[in-house]
């Protein structure tokens, strides 16, 4: 049910530490959204090498590119987003070039508090107007927090002008019932720590945002029965057989999934959805279509994989 709900919303922000697979998950969600007949776009934020290039075999740019029926991708690079934003914001458009070529102003715009967040959120808001479903493959978690914190910061700092209005618009976008946050985690201690911390901070800075969903990616289901696990871990400790080593390796992965799942459930109020490891052999587009199947399944079989 959760995934279906997610796909019928307007905006899904997918956040997580680097290497958790959030780009593949964003692409999989986009694929599912497009399949359901909604005009969908998967957006990356100012990345040097868009992950969508490898997945969909395109050269993702600022201007959205259609990769299949109902599905487009875009990379909101900083320079284009900034130009567009200034064109939208500054009344006299012909001055924009002067403004942007001024090195003092560039230096200011590069570091001005909340400026990146302003520009990015504003552009995302534009896309929400144009597409049925917008999936954002967010930058690393720290940036997610500053992005979510942005409206509050702006409303606090600016008492007038376009940025204040942007702040108000963004606050409305983030508290919209059609906006969702997904946190992607792995069964690794540090990633779980960061996910719990991000979840806590999200509550702090964007309390009006809906409860996030957590995807526990690359999980292992249980191969061994309790009795078998006990034999491997307690009773054969003297054995250096490669069979036992393999069993222990597998058990360790299973235990890591269980412990990550337990902690996420205990220490956050979010729903945790378990996604299995999808092998590398199919290449990135294969991984994405498999992930899309898994996401679909997680609705049909609630608790699938959560036998841990």
């Amino acid at each position: 049910m959760k995934i279906k709900e997610l796909l019928s919303s307007k905006l899904v922000l997918v956040s997580g530490k680097g290497g958790t697979g959030k780009s593949a998950i964003s692409a999989a969600l986009g694929t599912l959204g497009a399949k359901s007949g909604r005009d969908t776009i998967v957006v990356e934020v100012d990345v040097n090498r868009p992950a969508m290039n490898g997945i969909f075999g395109v050269d993702s740019q600022f201007t959205p590119k259609m990769v299949s029926a109902n599905l487009s991708v875009s990379n909101l690079d900083w320079a284009s987003s900034l130009t567009r934003w200034i064109v939208r914001t500054v009344p006299a458009g012909r001055l924009v070039k002067h403004l942007l070529s001024n090195k003092f102003i560039r230096a200011f715009l590069d570091v001005a508090p909340g400026n990146r967040e302003t520009v990015v959120l504003s552009e995302i808001g534009q896309l929400v107007e144009r597409y049925d479903l917008v999936i954002v493959d967010m930058p690393a978690s720290g940036h997610t927090i500053s992005l979510l914190d942005f409206p509050r910061t702006m409303l606090n700092l600016f008492s007038s002008g376009p940025i204040r209005r942007e702040g108000e618009r963004s606050a409305a976008l983030l508290s919209d019932a059609g906006t969702n946050l997904v946190l992607v985690a792995l069964s690794e201690e540090m990633v779980v720590n960061e996910t719990i911390e991000t979840h806590r901070r999200v509550h702090e800075v964007a309390s009006e945002l809906k409860e996030p969903l957590i995807f526990l990616n690359r999980s292992q289901d249980n191969l061994f029965s309790k009795n078998e696990a006990l034999i491997l871990s307690e009773h054969l400790t003297g054995s250096d057989s490669p069979l036992r080593t393999a069993g222990e390796w597998r058990l360790e992965l299973e235990a890591a999934t269980k412990s990550a799942h337990d902690r996420l459930e205990r220490e956050t109020s979010a729903s945790v959805i378990i996604l299995p490891e999808v092998t590398h052999k199919e290449g990135s587009s294969g991984i994405v279509s498999k992930l899309a199947d898994e996401l679909n399944n997680s609705d049909n079989h609630p608790g699938a994989g959560s036998s841990v």
């Binding site: 910061t153 700092l157 201690e189 057989s241 069979l243 393999a246 069993g247 597998r250």
Partner: protein, 375 residues
């Protein structure tokens, strides 16, 4: 394998890498090697996994160093510090402010308070600042820095130049023109400046710009201090004699891809790269019939009822999964070696095996150091 000379000859070793590759363990292990070679070493880390933190004696965040208890046969000393980047921005202001009034004016300023948290890269900037202080103090033979995990590689090196560029007196003066104008300090503004200010005012609001100028007036007094520190940090990081960068990655597509770009970036910025550690590689022993037979005997010897066939079938499945995984990692490593061989320019590629459980005590770190440096 890494040569001990790298540890003995450097003042600073910077470990870079994406998150989750075991960079903290590798950093701590390199530092420990220094201590084993008789040096006084500090490992500087940011948000390590809890148990590793505990084993290093870091129970809480704070910019104070803790001596790590080592076995008696280790002749050197190992200290560890977990960097609190929020605290350091304030201490930096304290350090570079010419007087107390300026310091208080800045720290009390609403814009400063927002800036210190929202300045792009302020955390990374603070990391490089604190680092410089520690190396400069001369209290350690070697400092090993575990950099904050960053997808965009060397953010923390960039931050310092970005901030310094922004705090360039010409930039500050430019922004202060209208402020001084209002107070009759300045003379005529240049035509374009007037225009630009009108535009900036239209975007950011006049109140904000005025407040911003006031903030800059105070910040301007800090400039010399900032600039000097920025240059010193820069020089230290580029020094081939004092500094070595080590890239740490895992045998995954994503991690190696990021690392390739790290390496290129280090080259472009002329930062001294010593080599790459490919961490946590899976090791698998091939199965033969002896293994099966002897394992059956082990099972027979147990006094526990178990469906032997079933368990063996599952173990063979686990073994084949493990082998698949290991093959993937080996392929990735081979490909990786080829693609970085030119940029590496004679640097090392060390690999470490995946160790059961997480590396979270000194014994495990010593063990890891044997894989990195040999016995």
């Amino acid at each position: 394998m890494i040569s001990d000379q790298i540890v003995q000859d450097s003042k600073l070793i910077v470990c870079v890498g994406s998150g989750g590759v075991g960079k903290t363990s590798v950093s701590a292990s390199i530092a420990l090697r220094g201590a084993m070679l008789g040096q006084k070493v500090l490992v500087l880390t940011i948000d390590p996994a809890r148990r590793l933190a505990n084993s290093l004696g870091l129970s809480k965040i704070g910019n104070t160093e803790h001596r790590v208890l080592l076995d008696n046969d280790i002749s050197g000393e190992l200290s560890a510090m977990m960097l609190d980047t929020e605290q350091t921005f304030n201490s930096l202001i304290d350090k570079v402010a010419p007087d107390e009034a300026t310091r208080d004016a800045i720290r009390g300023n609403r814009i400063y308070q927002t800036l210190s948290n929202h300045f792009s890269g302020s955390q990374e900037y603070m990391a490089s600042e604190a680092l410089f202080d520690l190396v400069d103090s001369g209290r350690f033979d070697l400092v090993v820095l575990d950099t904050p995990p960053a997808k965009n590689a060397l953010n923390f090196l960039e931050a310092s130049s970005k901030l310094a560029r922004f705090l360039d007196p010409r930039v500050i003066k430019w922004f202060l023109v209208p402020y001084r104008e209002r107070r009759g300090i300045g003379k005529l503004m240049m035509g374009t400046s007037v225009l630009m200010f009108k535009l900036l005012g239209a975007i950011f609001g006049k109140e904000f710009l005025a407040e911003f100028s006031e903030f800059l007036i105070n910040f301007e007094k800090l400039y010399d201090g900032f600039q000097a520190r920025h240059e010193a940090v820069h020089e230290l990081l580029r020094s081939k004699d004092k500094t070595k960068f080590i890239a740490v990655c895992a045998a995954t597509d994503a991690s190696m891809d990021v690392t390739k770009h790290f390496i290129q970036e280090l080259l472009d910025k002329e930062l001294p790269l010593a080599g790459v550690v490919v961490n946590k590689m899976l090791q698998v022993v091939d199965l033969n019939s002896d293994h099966l037979e002897s394992f059956k005997l082990d099972l027979d010897a147990l006094d526990i009822a178990v469906h032997q066939e079933e368990l063996l079938r599952k173990l063979e499945q686990a073994h084949s999964e493990m082998k698949d995984q290991s093959d993937i990692e080996q392929d990735l490593l081979n490909e990786f070696k080829i693609s970085i061989s030119n940029s590496l320019n004679g640097g090392f590629i060390a690999k470490t095996p995946r160790i059961r459980g997480e590396v979270h005590d000194i014994k495990a770190l010593v063990n890891l150091s044997y894989f990195l440096f040999g016995n």
